[in-house]
Amino acid sequence: MAFTMRAVKVPPNSASLEEARHRVFDFFKQACRSIPTVMEIYNLDDVVTPSQLRSTIAKEIRKNQNITNPKVIDMLLFKGMEELNNIVEHAKQRHHVIGQYVIGQEGLVQELGSKDQGSSDFLKKFYSSNYF
């Protein structure tokens, strides 16, 4: 938390969707430029390439591409910035980064495949993720 308080300043709200859009690209660039540092900190050279990480960041951003409210985009950008700072400041461990950005959300739950057969729809969703 202390890391974040120091590193992330809340910028004024974006006045328009266009400005928010621009900020997203700036954030993406910033994240891309910190990839070499991140690969070095977490020793990721043998598990992932910079271009894969770039695509993962783009995919994370694209998850929210349907959002048109600049305030929501600002909020998500803040969270993204926070996450990036945590990663760059080594506030995470190697397996956090690998689990989240190299293997990905789906990769971690794939093994569950056959165990939840016959269970209710709710349980299936519950097993795959608790975010629904």
């Binding site: 690209f25 700036d26 993406f28 660039k29 891309c32 070499p36 271009s51 770039r54 695509s55 783009a58």
Partner: protein, 130 residues
Amino acid sequence: MAAAALRPAILRRIRLSPSPPLALAAAASQPHALARWLARPMSSHDAHLTREEVVDRVLDVLKSHPKVDPSKVTPEAHFEKDLGLDSLDTVEVVMAIEEEFKLEIPDKEADKIDSLPLAIEYVANHPMAG
């Protein structure tokens, strides 16, 4: 004063072609030797990228992008119109080019790069591209 400051800057950009009479003259007189000394490469890797090399490497970067069909990549392609990339993909490609050539393209320039000719032009004209 200003002329004195300008002189090395100008001399650094002048390349003398090493034809025999000129080389003799250069050996004979001091000013030419000074000019050659000023025009010497300032770093050990003086071999600037050739245009063909830049084109090849930029094309390779594009072809390795997961969303790009490698057969559509030509030196004249436009990122959005010909390759079907969106604005975020374009930024991603520009970032990949930055990484490939060890550059940092400022935002103003990066925003303008939306096609392969512009990207190749920028990298080929960049003195630090390596």
